[in-house]
Subunit: 451 residues, 2 copies
């Protein structure tokens, strides 16, 4: 049995903590059993490992998320990166092909696809085990998990089960209704409909045959390079709704979407995270502060406050699901990112009247890591080293750098930095255009570059 975890897109519903560079599943806002904070990603992987399911995990995601995943789970996690975002059918097709052609799984291998972000309990994974067993026993070619609806929500797909004649707890699917309005949803729930939980079980050969209709490849690399030929469509529309042999197993335990602030705060690690003071007369107040400056809350009731270098949200909890259109107004560059080599945080951004820009960042490089050899066409950079020791490559010359050193990197000047210890740098970028994309990367091998 193989589990494919779908690690989805950016999401603005937890702005300002989630952004284009940091998806909600990476926010360490939940509480692990050992009392430390953990992310949705860390939680679900821990839960799978604790569940007793005999399954190895493959995470299907975008290249942009790979660094964050390995930072949180370690280097040994199995990650398939999509060349670009194209919806869930191509993503699952890519991951299935990867398991088939790289891991040499057989056509009989049971595959379970699941989302990364439900907040749920241990019995969820027992239901997954029953889904896999049902596929194995031939109950249906495709098994879904049905969630018991709690409200007539119009954001879910609904699955209407048919009669379970054999009393097996495995229900054939009568029909699907995708995101009905509230009135229709109420009617469906009265008829016994379930939410489609986005968990699917099938044999690898089942998916392979569907993929073959679009594209036949000889290697995983070939599918990766021809990824654009796969249709931009969801797995639900392309596979689930067309399936002729499909059944659903209801999950009756607790299950919650914690992708909005009001739901997330119910499960948050602590009501005050970061530099926060909550006055004694505040009630139901949750604050996450990723800024260095303090937040003080006085007399607030049922409020969530979230602050990051991207912005500050102050929301009545009940209004927080309405955040998305407001957050979409701020289509700015990421102000904080976790990278393979460490993190950066934007300290300030100055747009001058003539269009010239200055961007000030603090870079923290992990010991032993390095920023690749590169140059910029549109910006110069000033690096002031405030902590640690490292080696700087500048137009091919390597020198030692340490606290107190200053380097001015001109436009076109090739540079790389290797951290011998934890290295902290204040970087001032200057130029008429300051974008992450203005990087020309070059080969460089640190192993033969001692000073």
């Amino acid at each position: 049995m193989r589990i494919i975890l779908l690690s989805g897109g950016s999401g603005k519903r937890l702005w300002p903590l989630s952004n284009d560079a940091r998806s909600k599943q990476f926010l360490r806002l939940l509480k692990a059993p050992d009392g430390t904070p953990e992310s949705m990603l860390q939680r679900i992987v821990r839960q799978i490992r604790e569940s007793g399911l005999d399954a190895s995990i493959t995470i299907a995601t975008s290249a942009a998320q790979k660094d964050a995943i390995t930072n949180q789970l370690g280097n040994h996690v199995d990650v398939v990166t999509e060349p670009e975002r194209r919806n869930t059918f191509p993503a699952i097709a890519l991951a299935s092909t990867y398991l088939s052609l790289e891991h040499h799984c057989t056509r009989d291998e049971i595959i379970v696809v699941m989302p990364i972000d439900p907040f749920t309990e241990g019995s969820y994974f027992q239901t997954i085990g029953r889904m896999a067993q049902a596929v194995e026993q031939g109950a249906a070619e495709l098994l879904l998990m049905g969630i018991i609806p709690t409200t007539p929500s119009s954001t879910f797909g609904y699955v209407l089960p048919a009669l379970d004649e054999g009393k097996t707890g495995i229900f054939p699917v009568a029909r699907f209704v995708e995101k009905p309005d509230t009135q229709v949803a109420e009617q469906l729930i009265a008829e016994g409909a379930l939410w489609n939980g986005g968990v699917f079980a099938f044999r690898l050969g089942y998916m392979a045959d569907i993929v073959k209709r679009y594209i036949q490849v000889g290697s995983f690399a070939e599918l990766h390079s021809r990824y654009l030929e796969l249709p931009k469509i969801s797995f639900d529309y392309e596979v689930v709704e067309k399936a002729t042999s499909v059944a659903v197993i209801p999950f009756t335990g607790s299950w919650k979407d914690i992708g909005t602030w009001n739901n997330l705060t119910e499960e948050m690690f602590d009501c005050a995270m970061g530099n926060v003071v909550i006055g004694e007369d505040a009630e139901g107040t949750h604050v996450v502060n990723e800024l260095d400056i303090p937040i003080v809350c006085l007399g607030t009731k049922n409020i969530v406050v979230a602050a990051s270098p991207d912005g500050i949200l102050v929301s009545d909890k009940s209004s927080s699901p309405k955040l998305k259109p407001y957050a979409l107004r701020f289509n700015q560059r990421p102000m904080y990112e976790e990278r393979r080599w460490g993190t950066y945080k934007v300290m300030g951004y100055n747009l001058l009247p003539d269009g010239y820009r200055a961007l000030t960042k603090i870079l923290c490089l992990h010991a032993g890591c390095n920023i690749s050899y590169q140059y910029h066409n549109r910006r110069e950079e000033v690096w002031t080293f405030i902590d640690g020791e490292g080696r700087l490559a500048l137009d091919g010359q390597v020198t030692k750098v340490k606290r107190g050193d200053v380097v001015h990197i001109k436009v076109g000047q090739k540079h790389a930095i290797h951290a011998d210890t934890l290295l902290q740098i204040i970087e001032v970028q200057m130029g008429s255009e300051l974008v992450e994309e203005d990087i020309v990367r070059l080969d460089w091998d640190w192993s033969d570059k001692s000073v």
Copy 2:
């Protein structure tokens, strides 16, 4: 007639906008008649000038506030700076002596002392005119303004008027009660007591005689240098409560202390100042944002949000008067200051595990202004020029500097900068101790230093 405006201390009740370097009276949060924002200081000076009172204004304040006052009112304003903060009696003694010995006012000159921060209307200044007239006509040696109480507040001094036998509207004072508890205040109000509005009128000679009891000086400079000999006591305790000939004139117009967020928001320029988005379902929400990043408020009711480089306040309006003890916890360096030469804003502060510090600021120098020739004993500085042109003096050598230039100023290295145009600099300070006081200033004359 001379008006002495008392420009008081730092105040934490409007944290995070007010701090040790920026008092509440300098916040440009009110609305001038021409539709632009103005500060409490600018408002009261404008009101005095519009009132028709034939009075010149002297502002009594600390040296730390002088730059902010001249930035807001221009260079021609008359400012007396106290050598240190010692309460209102010494401050008024100093300003009175200044008027007597520097402006050569006579003992008969009518002096009106008033606070800088009441939010009031035009008739307030007519009452001041009547107080001055009452002193002139000998109704009493000392005239007070009484404010009609609106609540049994325990933060004010109360003045109990005696019978106005001549029906002149000028009441002899029966007694004073300083900051009574609410119950006593209620009783006092029932007996017709008024709040002491902190406005006093007297002849200059009256005050001069009181000052002489403590110290006799031959010049203003002498009093300035012997300022510590004056007792640290309020004008109310030292003068008002001991006065034998004292009367009060009630002011019946609108008068408000806008030194707390709930009161200030009622008079604020706009409900959203700075980079702010208020959602359509928010009510009674006021936001002041001095940060570059956006603030979004959704569904909030009767909330004030204030953000500056010092911190972020989110408060129910009714709880905002309780702010002070919370704000006092943050005894940090100023993160934003207006100076004679321009402004600085702290972008980031990094305290490293071994106690070494880095502080990143953006400096904006007005064209024609300069930072004095100086050196530091405990820090080095890196200046990256992101806009404008100027001249840099470094160990006696003057060079032109412009956008893109970088200067590394080592410990002990003498430096000054003159802005030929508006000049913007990203400054990184590094050292084991980073305090504003680590500045050794030297003489330097830019007039003969062209390049």
